[in-house]
Structures are given as structure tokens and as C-alpha cells.
Symmetry: C2
Subunit: 221 residues, 2 copies
Amino acid sequence: MPSPTTDSDGTRPATGKRRAPLNRASVVAAGRRVARDEGLSAVTLRRVAAELGVTAMALYRHVGDKRELLVAMLDDVAEHLVIPDREGTPSDRLVLAFRALHDHLTAEPWVTEVLKAGELFGPRASRFVEHVLALLEEAGLGDERAADAYWALWWYTFGHLSYLPALRPEGRPARAELMTRVPATDHPRLARMLARPPRQAAAEDAFVPGLRALLRGLLTD
Amino acid sequence: MPSPTTDSDGTRPATGKRRAPLNRASVVAAGRRVARDEGLSAVTLRRVAAELGVTAMALYRHVGDKRELLVAMLDDVAEHLVIPDREGTPSDRLVLAFRALHDHLTAEPWVTEVLKAGELFGPRASRFVEHVLALLEEAGLGDERAADAYWALWWYTFGHLSYLPALRPEGRPARAELMTRVPATDHPRLARMLARPPRQAAAEDAFVPGLRALLRGLLTD
DNA sequence: ACCTGAACACCGTTCAAGT
DNA sequence: ACCTGAACACCGTTCAAGT
């Protein structure tokens, strides 16, 4: 390996063969790239390292362990969330915010697979939480009820996000197989529900009505 | 524990050294035992096999692969759910049902870790889904709205279940560390929320009010 | 028919060693 | 200071072989 140049810690591209120096951001970016292009299961330390032209053990200088890498990848996603807002009722603005959150976390499928409801989100997206709490306050909720409402909204949103992978092409056979196993005579309503087309779009369309219903219930009492 | 049915092949206890013959149920039971006693991470094919006094490869005759074992373990839990009911409004009876579901899935911590919102639950607990759909119908909802409402309720419930592991002792340090990183001046409401004690009991108490709010929103419109 | 032994192709992680 | 090579202790899974 060539490396005789004695530069201090310059970020220069250097001449030809020298690799850019590793840092946390580049490791996280490489992890996201592998996850996006090859799926979450491809995100191994060896694979991410290869992506950077480096050996797996080199990553340990920058991330601690694999779990920390995944958390950092998630934080990276959360940081780039843009929270839309406009004139309107607090309820409408809350719908707007949670739709944006939902769509943002859905943009890269691997996100919904790493996401753990408590551990990885919530407080990490500080701006988002603060925004939501402010709107709930504006809607007339006190500290305690606002906090409960925030969690209810997040649990609902998280639940829906977790449901989406099952609708992806890989999950379809499992669902089809389930349908054949449900005894229609014993469970007529369930049979009717499963008979309805479980299109991805339908599930996404179902998110907002449920969100509105939840808000209706949370804000009126 | 299956009753001593006189089956075709030799199910005799045999004399002394002969191990009871393996079957799917015993493999699933062994998996649940290991998960309950040593946590989900201990559920490896080698460990489960050892629990049965057998080698890992012997399991493949009964479960296909590891994912199938986990699904079977979950189905086993779902099957033993008792759905309580009593006189009352559909709303009250729905709260009763979802509380029971919530408590049942919470009884063994590993369950919330394997649970995938779409893939593993929902239709598998046929009795439960049918019961809920019937109550929603009784409350005046048509097929389509009842199905949407069922999913909304399940997403909310699932989200809360997924949140609980973070409250377990192992997850606490992470939360404490988050608190110190949140800038109180920029996010005063978030800081107040995090300052409140995140006791496990509090989170469980928060489940029912949110559930009621969601139902309020779903049933009135 | 049911189970075993040995092997394969991976993991995350460690540690001493290189430069 | 930063990275590598080699090794460790695991995984899930396969396959031919035993009984």
C-alpha cells in the first residue's frame, strides 16, 4: 500500500492512489449506501469496510460496535427530516408533521427494519418532538396530556411503519398463504377483510384517516 | 402438555435412557423455554437442540428454518390468548380485548422482540381479529371502516408493545444519556417531557388512555 | 425414518503487530 | 495515529453417513 506522504491531517484528495481518510461521517454514509443498495442484511462490518476500501477492523476506530453504527445511520436519517408547516388548525398541522415523518422514514425501506420504537427514535429527533409538543400545547393540552398524546401518535405511526415491510413483495406469499388457512365460516368478518386487496397504496392511505381519528380522540375530551 | 393420545408411532415413555421422540410441539416448547429463561438472543438452533438433548440438525426435520421456529413460537403464544368479554358498550369491550392482548403479549418479554407488525400477527390470531371486527360492526362501522379501525388499533397497540423493551433495565442508560444531550433551551417542552419519570408503570398506564382516545376518534365521525 | 458428524460460509469482535 | 492479519467463538445451514 502506498503511503509515504507526510501530510498533517489535510483533507486533500491527494494524488491518485491515496484513499480519503476515514471518519465517522464517511462510515455512516457508507453504511447507508450499502443498506439502500443491497438491503439491511448486507450491512455487515466487512461489507461496509469493503465499501470504503478498508478492512472491517478499521471501522472500530470510528463506531464502537455494529449497533452504534445502525443507531448513527438512523440519526443521520432523522437529522435530514424537514418538518413542513403552514397556517391552519393545530390538528391539521399535526397531520402534516406526522405525514412528513412517516414519508421520510419510509423513503428508504431499511429504516423501518432497524427502527425500535423506544430506543432509536423519539428524543433523537428533538426538533420534531418539540414541534409536535408545541402544537399539542397550542391545541390546549397541558404538559402531561401533551406528552401522552405525543407517545400515542408516535406509537400509532411506528406501528404503521412496522407494518409496511410485510406488504413489500417478499412478504406477499406469507399473506396469501394465511388467507387459505383462515376458516371463512368461523370468521366471516376476517375473511372479508383479508379478501380486500392489501395494496401498498391502500395501507398508506389508511395511515392518515387513522391519524386523524387518533387526533380527534386526543384533542377532544 | 399434550394429553397421552395413543398415536400411531411409538409414543411410549420407554425404559430409562430413551429420549421422548421429537415433534414440532416439543421443539416449539423448548424454544419458548429457552427464550423465557435466557432471553431471545439465547434462542439458537444449537441451544434449543441442547435443551432437547439432541443436535441442532435434528430440528430441521420439524421446523424448516429458524424463522419458522420463531413464527411458530409466536403462534403458540397467540393461541393461548383468552379474550375477556362482558356486558357493556362496544368501546368498553374493545378496550377490554386490547388490554388483554397487550398484557398477554407482554407477559413474556421476548415476544415484543420477535413481533413484526405485519408478518407475524394480525390474521394469525383469527379469533381475536374476528372478535374485534364484530364489536366494531356492532358500534356501527361498515366493513371498510371496521377494517381500517382494526388496523389503527393494532398499529397503536403494536407501537406501544415495541416501546416497552426500551423501558427495561438494559435500555435505561441509553435514555439517561439522551437526556443530557437534549438542549433544554432550544427544546423546553421536550426537556420537560424527558424530565418526567419514565417508569415502566407509567408507560403501561399510558396505553389505555391512548387506546380510549383512538377509539373515541374511530367510532365518532 | 430419524438423527449425527463434519464441514461450509459466514458473522462480530479481539489483539498483537505493522507503518 | 491509524490500519491490517490472523485468530476466536460463535452463527444458520448442507449433506453424506449412520442406525
